[in-house]
Symmetry: C2
Subunit: 334 residues, 2 copies
DNA sequence: TGGGAGGATTGAAACGCTTCACATGACGAT
DNA sequence: ATCGTCATGTGAAGCGTTTCAATCCTCCCA
């Protein structure tokens, strides 16, 4: 049974299809009793508007596209949920996908969003998506960068000061008496990672006597953390750092597993550990994790708000919103 | 600048629009050199197909809808990722939303999916969605239940035997010497919760001397777990259970925080703890968590496969796939 | 009584695509 | 030379909306 269309509703309510469309979109301009008759007809036929037809006519959809970096990182899950809620309040839905840090998946989602003619795109990019976003903007699809600042400031962005976060973390480690510090991070191509590293380096530079070892990994997962942690455990004590700053909490949890549970090294006594993101599980890990907290929900909301404004008015100046991170100190570092 | 349409491409390539559509959809029936000319024209104009128009014409979209119970539960995140991958392999995209255990949000997503004319719906339901799904199926949108069996078997489902899981968990607790066991779970309206409880009760019934206390909560979050755990800690020792079976890992982690970290009761010595889902963080929590593992990815894949088959052929008999859970024993219970 | 004003409704065009019956032409078989 | 076949390409219809100019009433005022 094919579903009913405006035409069927119009026939049943004995009005024109134009009127049906009006009660759907501007009920205030049609006579109350007509509204009622049409509404009744819609119920009888259990009419459901065909979004594709609407979209074809008006030129764009009621959906926003969102590409995040990782599906397993609760930071992005929280961000996504907040974005959905905020969008829903404005009558939009969010189509969310995660690139898992792969450029091909990222490109795949952008293709999809373009075919779908989404109203706008939120993205936490892996590769250099700015040229691509520029092309999309020329066609009326604005973009907002999330958790990342556009290098040339031509796009709005909502981010957290990752340099400050890195500095916060490492300064804390130094001030609590550590000096041989290791930074463990994912591909340095990811801005968040390189910024956190930069912050770490600044903290080191400000404190003579402290040194930084940089371990570069291929990703930011628990698995990678375990791998890196195992490597630390295998070293002779004299070559081990006395503190580790991990580029995110998943990594930190992996390090914790390898160092504390498998390697039996005391945390924080032998090695102190600081993570990043302050995910829900950070406070509940084997040794509760000191972590740099980012306002994930707020980021999502702000990004959606800005995106919708730009969708309304394409000539808006790009804005850069930067939130400040906050250090949450727990047992893993004190 | 409005984006190019088939008409523009056709004009530039000096063919009819029908031919352009053919190179898009059945390139094998058009002459190779024509294909090339058209492809070139598409590149020149950076043509992007308008999915809404395509969909309007063919009657349904290339998307699947997915509603999960919770966005913060990694079990569903893993399931979603697997479903996305599986759908992508078949040329479909997944629009995922989570109800956060709220019926209104669940209904909202179903509305959206119906307006979008998705090809099919995967759902892990909160309320009784069967009548709703039935209506959608009459209109050509099949549905598959995920992590839940349809009460009347009129829909296909992919689930895990939650009764067996509950039995597994509690039998393990009893066999390791506990007898005063508490079940802590979210709203009993959720099938997963009531099934796990039923399994727990079966295990108790099979072992004379063991007793079960049932604590019912409003949700399955870390927060709720902390609340319940605090209550246990405040009790006099004689009224405390010697083991807790939590309906999921988030709850268990909350319990852990309240009992072990705030309440300073030894786990597992004073209270043993078993969770459910074996999420990524279970093995890395304060006290590594014994948990019942479900094949989350496999569930997602299977569900998508079945759904797509039913989308092809509406007259397929509904199938019930039930996977068996597995107990992963860690420090929190031994 | 004629004429506006203005509210309510109508009807048709257009959005961009797919589909399908049909046209065209080349070529081999008869 | 005629016909059928096959490969290729064409053109128009139609999917379900929204939008907007045009029409139709009704009521009020001069």
């Amino acid at each position: 049974m094919a579903s009913a269309s405006v035409k069927d509703v119009a026939a049943l309510a004995r009005v024109s299809i134009g009127t049906v469309s009006n009660v759907l979109n501007r009920p205030e301009i049609v006579a109350p009793e007509t509204v009622e008759r049409v509404t009744l007809a819609m119920q009888k036929l259990s009419y459901v508007r065909n979004e594709a037809a609407r979209q074809l006519r008006v030129g764009h959809s009621r959906a926003l596209g969102l590409v995040t970096l990782s599906g397993s990182n609760p930071f992005f899950t929280e961000l996504t949920t907040a974005a959905e809620d905020c969008a829903a309040a404005a009558g939009y839905s969010v189509i969310a996908g995660n690139s898992n840090e792969r450029k091909d998946r990222e490109a795949g989602y952008l293709n999809l969003f373009e075919e779908l003619r989404v109203r706008g795109v939120l993205i936490s990019p892996v590769g250099n998506v700015v040229p691509r976003l520029r092309r999309m903007r020329e066609r009326g699809i604005p973009g907002v960068l999330v958790d990342r600042v556009s290098s040339d400031l031509s796009f709005s962005s909502v981010s957290v000061d990752d340099v400050a976060g890195g500095e916060l973390a490492v300064t804390h480690l130094i001030e609590s008496g550590r000096s041989r510090i290791a930074f463990v991070g994912g591909p340095t191509g990811i801005r968040q990672v390189s910024d956190r590293l930069k912050g770490a380096q600044q903290a080191i530079a400000a404190h003579p006597g402290a040194g930084l070892e940089v371990i570069t990994l291929d990703g930011l997962s628990v698995q990678e953390g375990i791998r890196a942690g195992t490597e630390f455990v295998e070293r002779p004590r004299s070559h081990r750092p006395d503190a580790i700053f991990a580029a995110n909490d998943l990594l930190a949890i992996g390090l914790l597993q390898a160092i504390f549970m498998q390697g039996h090294l005391a945390i924080p006594q032998e090695i102190a550990l600081v993570g990043y993101d302050d995910i829900l599980f950070a406070g509940a890990s084997v040794v509760p994790l000191t972590s740099v907290r980012q306002p994930s929900g707020l980021i999502g909301e702000t990004a959606v708000t800005i995106l919708l404004e730009e969708a309304e008015d394409a000539d808006l100046e790009p804005r850069q919103v930067v939130y400040q991170p906050e250090l949450v100190i727990r047992a893993s570092s004190s």
